[in-house]
């Protein structure tokens, strides 16, 4: 899931109190330095916002010059990998969650010592802490909520989803909506690792044990979670299978008015505001034995080999957590800053739809961190592969998770 936040926002007037200027602890900051910063998230529309942020930064820290390099997502990681290996990586750069752990574990990132942890959203910051060492700061933030089609709920005579809904409520409502029409479905949730690790937590399970030393993929809780995810396609069919989807995107299905519920990222708001000719709203994702919500964040990291570590830290810390940068980020409708300062975030709440935008922030109470390990991409592909074999009926859910467990154990060394 590649994300580029695209919220349309007009709001400017947020209370700008408690000026917590994300200050760098640079005492020896008098000398002129130039650092390089590479990123992908500004590509495709937000280059100017980033440039404006830098100008504001440069005003505060005139001795630090940042050369910004914005590279498209498709080329970014192959290019970065080559540059890191070749010793020509920029002083600081952006990484997505899939690549972050690999880079951190391979010793190419510097430990961040000059940042102010208080300014950040705690869970998001902890995502980039590996074994007690902080290797990155969350540069942006977005999470997943349950988006629902109000008109379909009205037609089916079901109460709107609420924050305290469990999967049982979702499935029951889904069945009533499915009964409305042959081509109308209750819910769509991709059967992938990305969804599975979260639903597993909602069912009380997990992908790894507590200290990340062993896989727990085929636990009873996880099996129940996967059963639920898959049976709503294969048994009750309240979720369309691949053939029924026939290449259509899940957002398109929702916008066509034939889908009751879709747990998806808040970056869908702008698209749905424009594309839906029916009423829709959001609430916190459903849970089961406990609540767990999904979030996405990109890490801003410092190159282990840089000679300008202090300046690089100063820049990424400012970019990620300063009030000025945060406000610019929200005003430009880029994405949310992963900061702890609610007042800056307040202006975000004023935009509708959805009416219940508060759910975006209520979801923050249940954030679950992805099971980040060095071989994240490999683990993710193995588990997604087995889940889709179960969804296509080649394996039972139990067999699929057993196979995923043994394949992960075989191919991935933990800790």
């Amino acid at each position: 899931m590649k994300k580029t936040g695209k919220w349309e926002m007009a709001a400017m007037g947020a209370a700008l109190a408690a000026a917590l200027t994300a200050g760098c602890m640079t005492a020896a900051a008098e000398e002129e330095v130039t650092i390089k910063y590479a990123n992908f998230n500004a590509s495709g529309g937000q280059e100017e916002t980033l440039e404006a942020m830098y100008e504001a930064f440069h005003e505060e820290y005139p001795n630090i010059t940042v050369e910004i390099e914005t590279i498209g997502f498709d080329d970014y990681f192959t290019q970065m990998q080559t540059r890191v290996a070749g010793g020509t990586a920029p002083d600081c750069y952006e990484l997505n969650i899939e690549n972050f752990a690999a880079y951190a574990n391979k010793g190419v990132l510097a430990e961040l010592t000059g940042i102010d942890p208080a300014g950040y959203n705690e869970t998001a910051l902890s995502a980039f802490n590996v074994g007690g060492t902080q290797y990155g700061v969350p540069g942006n933030f977005s999470n997943v909520v349950l988006i629902y089609n109000k008109d379909l709920f009205d037609a089916a005579g079901v109460d709107y989803p609420a924050d305290d809904w469990t999967w049982d409520d979702v499935l029951a409502a889904g069945e009533k909506i499915r009964a409305l029409d042959e081509n109308t479905y209750g819910i769509y949730q991709p059967i992938t690792f990305n969804e599975f690790f979260k639903v597993a937590v909602q069912f009380g399970g997990s992908i790894l044990n507590e200290d990340k030393s062993a896989f727990t993929i085929n636990s009873a809780e996880n099996t129940a979670a996967a059963e639920m995810m898959i049976s709503k396609v294969t048994d009750s069919n309240i979720q369309p299978n691949d053939e029924q989807m026939s290449g259509m995107g899940d957002w398109d299905l929702f916008q066509s008015g034939r889908l009751g519920m879709i747990p998806t990222g808040i970056w869908a708001f702008a698209t749905f505001t424009e594309g839906c000719d029916f009423a829709w709203d959001i609430c916190v994702e459903p849970g089961q034995t406990q609540k767990a919500t999904h979030f996405f964040s990109n890490a801003l990291v410092v190159n282990a080999d840089t000679e300008q570590k202090e300046a690089a830290e100063c820049w990424i810390n400012w970019l990620a957590s300063s009030e000025k940068a945060a406000q610019m980020r929200i005003d430009a409708g880029w994405d949310l800053p992963a900061i702890s300062n609610d007042e800056v975030l307040a202006s975000y709440l004023e935009i509708t739809p959805p009416d219940n935008r508060q759910a975006v922030f209520d979801s923050l109470d249940y954030l679950t961190v992805a099971p980040i390990i060095e071989d994240y991409a490999l683990m993710s592909d193995i588990i997604t592969g087995k889940l889709s074999e179960a969804a296509s009926g080649k394996l039972t859910v139990q067999e699929a998770l057993d196979a995923a467990q043994s394949e992960c154990e075989e191919q991935i060394k933990l800790g």
Partner: protein
């Protein structure tokens, strides 16, 4: 020319060859040699690449042994062979058809030549995206056509059975112009007097095709066969964009695996070993074809 003069000529040519030779040495030959070394290590693609790193990560032939003992490699090879079996006959029939059509002397034939060649010039990324649309089971034009003749088209790219044929279809569409042009130049080289002689002797069109056209076209066919086989083993962009190796790994092929291991899983040593195995396969097959050509390729002398 005396020996001295020859040497002088060689020396004089060196400065002219140097720029492109240096480029080839630094950007092709050297990386190729280094990849041999990388394939003997478990280098992760992120640590600094220098002799010290490589010697620290040295694992011998372990990567090769591991690849050859995984079932994945044989599956992937199977997918590639499946692709070849479908692709090569189809692309030959299509491009031979094009060549024969384009060989006619009629007005505006150049326009047709250009039209058939346009897919060759299109980037694979754009072509794949178009084919994704064309093959979309619900809105795609391809299934629409099938429905006119009473066939309910499959959901091409999401079906394990039909995903590879779908990729073959797109590849044939894209490559037939390229091979068609080669075969056309082969056709043009055939001396018209053979046909006249055959006509005098009473040979029909079919007889002429199989006894004159086809045998005299074999050098061109041979070239196209070698090229298309190499191409087929290097199948990559269309897979990456149309299916990403799915559904359920049904379209995973060698170059896709190399890319995934090298740049997604950070197993650069393993990926290098994979690519050397690919090289060996292509090399052996090409040699076999070279040896085998004596039996069926007729060079005019």
């Amino acid at each position: 020319m005396s020996k001295r003069k020859k040497r002088q000529a060689l020396l004089q040519s060196v400065p002219f060859m140097l720029p492109s030779f240096t480029g080839m040495l630094v950007f092709s030959l050297l990386p190729i040699l280094i990849s041999v070394l990388i394939s003997l290590t478990d280098w992760n693609g992120l640590d600094k690449l220098n002799p010290e790193t490589l010697s620290q990560h040295f694992v011998g032939l372990q990567n090769y042994a591991k690849i050859l003992t995984t079932s994945e490699f044989w599956q992937v090879l199977g997918h590639t062979l499946y692709y070849i079996v479908l692709y090569i006959p189809l692309v030959f029939v299509a491009s031979l058809g094009i060549a024969v059509i384009l060989n006619k002397n009629m007005r505006g034939i150049t326009v047709f030549r250009v039209m058939y060649y346009i897919p060759v010039l299109t980037s694979w990324v754009a072509a794949s995206l178009i084919w994704k649309w064309v093959l979309s089971p619900q809105y795609g034009i391809f299934n629409q056509f099938l429905s006119y003749i009473g066939i309910r088209g499959p959901s091409w790219l999401t079906s394990e059975i039909w995903a590879m044929p779908a990729i073959v279809l797109a590849s044939v569409w894209k490559d037939m112009g390229f091979f068609g042009l080669f075969l056309l130049s082969g056709l043009k080289m055939i001396d018209m007097s053979y046909y006249e002689a055959a006509r005098v002797d009473g040979a029909g069109k079919t007889k002429q095709f199989f006894s004159i056209t086809l045998p005299l076209l074999t050098p061109s066919i041979f070239f196209c066969l070698i090229m298309s086989l190499i191409n087929a083993f290097q199948l990559f962009p269309q897979v990456m964009i149309m299916t990403e190796g799915g559904p359920n790994g049904a379209t995973q092929v060698m170059v896709e695996r190399i890319y995934t291991y090298g740049f997604k899983y950070f197993k650069m040593g393993y990926a290098s070993a994979y690519s050397w195995l690919l090289f060996i396969i292509i090399f052996v097959l090409t040699i076999l074809q070279m040896k085998g050509q004596k039996g069926w390729v007729h060079y005019e002398s």
